[in-house]
Amino acid sequence: MVDIDMKYIALTIVAIIFPYFALAQAVQFGDQGLAIDLEPAFPQPGQAFTATANDYSLPIQGTTIRWSINGELRNEYLNERVIPGTAPLLGKEMTIKLEVSLPTGGSVSIERTIAPVNLDIILEPQTRTPAFFKGRGLPSIGSKINATAIVNGNKVLPSSLIYTWRLNSTVLESGSIQGRNNISFSMPQGRRATLVLDVRELNGEPLAQRIIDVPSVTPSISFYEISTLYGFKQKAVGTAVPLLGDSITLRAEPYNLDLATYNEPDHLEWKIAGVRTQSSAGNPYEITLAATGGSGRVPVSFHVRNTVQLLQGSQGSFDITY
């Protein structure tokens, strides 16, 4: 009887003491369980972000949440789980401290320093635009795209960093590569693709991450008049082109067509009034039309296409009036 009582007493003592023991363990490992999550994970200089208190891995929930920014307690964020912020400018740091009071007394805290990094990704689609065009070409399905990453305006040498490029969840170049701040890839099917770049320091510490959309457009054709004296006229002709003199030379410019297809098209043809015509000029993208007397309106069309990658192609037309 005494033994049984002693067992109950012992079990009761254990039952009473264990939670405190467990709590002591939680506090002991609390620094590892408490975290500040940022969205975006790597804010760029001057970029707005949110910081979220992540204490769900603690065995018990905190009673009071306090936030300090750069050493200053921010009472307006008392007991807020999510707070807004703006990343400092390049070269400056911001320290965020999260302190969680426990119901049993005591508290746990964690600090996170934000030293923003400018991770720029410059896309350079290898698609056709004419020399006078002051913009950048756009990708089209199947076209080649060059991407260049610049960290902090090249203040950090590319060779001192490790780059991991992913396109729609496919890791490019089969993995991370030191110093590989530029890469080429083909535009996949769809209206856009997602390009993700992770940059780490040589010791494996994450430095920055960037996710961007890579847009895709359909190649399109504009026609331009070429003057024998002044050369290329930079104003696209409309749907009706008047033949004012004896003849007129026009050039078809297939914008955003992959350069490989532009340089060696599988199919390229001009049609006048529906009849296939050989280009009379040396450049297959140009056609010279001459008046033969009378008057009228004749449709002229142009078609260029890659017969393997069928979406790499375009056609356009205009009417010539004489």
């Binding site: 390049l90 990704i121 002051k134 610049i150 203040k155 050369g231 930079q234």
Partner: protein, 391 residues
């Protein structure tokens, strides 16, 4: 008897009437001064005639009608120009003709045009003049992205340029002062920017941009700060970088369709947000950003007389989603008003509606203020003719 006398007097009276009529019809008043249209000196008329008051500024009124503040200077297509002369002398503009590369000078007051050089640069499509207008760099082969460039010097009294050639595949170039020309060309590392000394033809690299589709904004000397950003496109993001020597820095400007005009105190830039083009003015001294009331297109703007103003051509209109791509393609054209933009507040004042003032649709590019500070010069993108607006 009485009847005879009566007839004689009647005939005499009739003859007198005829004589009076002949006199009045043929002779009366022929040698007198005109009475109401006299343009002679004041007081030459008889007393009692009302003399209209002399207009206060009759000469100015007549001149204004003949020479409007906004006027076309050339009928030739122009690929580059520079104001010559000063505010105290007669102003002229030296320009290069598209296609031939011939150099002309046009008097801004009389409109008279003189050919300064008949040295032909075939298919010339871009020219950059030194501030004096005496040195010009020209690019030929207008359908190619890169080509060698010709540097010419005007010789007084001679019809030919003294020329040298930079035999590289030059991408962009500009004569930035009387002694230096900046140019860029492709290398395996990116776009190398070099400085060419016009005085001794020496040539040295300055910095290399680690990408290729560059929009260069060179400073006024090789040792100045130079700026670069990727060529704009409405679906692609751009960033502004600066170079001093070979050191690259990231400026706090980025955005889709980004284009920028950068001065010592401000970065005026346009970018796309939610498929709408917006313009902002970043104050480099205070780090603050103001929204601009105008869409700022760098090709249409030039710094004003103070650091806080910008002159821009702009049409208040809804821009298509594809802007600026569609404008660069020549599928979209504007009919601009010239504005003075306050870079501190972002507000703007209209100086002249070019369509109302000229009756022509003028899509302004290459806006530039002359060194005299008395006029704005620009090219009409629709036909590449040169225009000016007297300030």
């Amino acid at each position: 008897m009485k009847q005879k006398v009566f007839i004689i007097f009647g005939i005499i009276f009739l003859i007198a009437l005829i004589a009076l009529w002949v006199y009045l019809f043929f002779f009366y008043g022929k040698d007198e001064a005109p009475r109401f249209t006299d343009l002679g000196p004041e007081g030459s008329l008889d007393g009692g005639v009302i003399i209209p008051p002399t207009p206060l500024e009759p000469v100015v009124a007549t001149t204004t009608a003949a020479r409007p503040r906004l006027r076309q200077l050339t009928t030739k297509p122009v690929i580059g120009f520079m104001e010559a002369g000063s505010a105290t002398t007669s102003l002229s503009v030296t320009f290069a003709e598209a296609g031939t590369g011939h150099i002309f000078s046009v008097d801004t007051l009389s409109g008279s045009e003189v050919r300064l050089s008949n040295t032909t640069v075939a298919e010339a499509n871009f020219a950059s003049f030194s501030p004096s207008g005496q040195i010009v760099a020209l690019r030929s082969k207008n359908d190619r992205r890169t080509s060698p460039i010709t540097i010419g010097r005007l010789n007084p009294g001679e019809s030919n340029l003294t020329t040298v050639e930079i035999d590289k595949q030059v991408l962009d170039f500009a004569v930035i002062n009387e002694g230096e020309l900046m140019y860029s060309h492709k290398t395996s590392e990116g776009i190398e920017n070099r400085v060419y000394a016009l005085t001794n033809s020496s040539d040295r690299p300055l910095f290399t941009v680690p990408f290729y589709e560059t929009a260069m904004r060179w400073g006024t000397t090789s040792s100045s700060t130079h700026y670069v950003y990727p060529k704009p496109s409405y679906l692609l993001e751009g960033y502004v970088y600066s170079y001093r020597g070979s050191v690259m820095n990231r400026e706090p400007i980025q955005g889709f369709g980004l284009s920028a005009l950068i001065s010592v105190a401000h970065v005026s830039y346009s970018s796309m947000s939610n498929f709408e083009t917006e313009s902002f003015i970043y104050n480099r001294l205070t780090g603050t950003t103001e929204r601009s009331s105008l869409v700022i297109i760098p090709e249409k703007c030039t710094p004003g007389l103070s650091i806080n103003t910008l002159w821009c051509g702009s049409e208040i209109t809804d821009l298509p989603i594809e802007f600026p791509d569609s404008w660069y393609r020549g599928q979209l054209a504007f009919s601009d008003t010239i504005w003075e933009l306050d870079l501190e507040t972002g507000s703007a004042i209209a100086l002249v509606d070019t369509l109302a003032a000229s009756g022509r649709e003028i899509d302004i590019i290459n806006m530039s203020k002359g060194q005299s500070g008395t006029a704005l010069y620009f090219i009409n993108k629709n036909d590449n003719t040169l225009w000016m607006y007297e300030l």
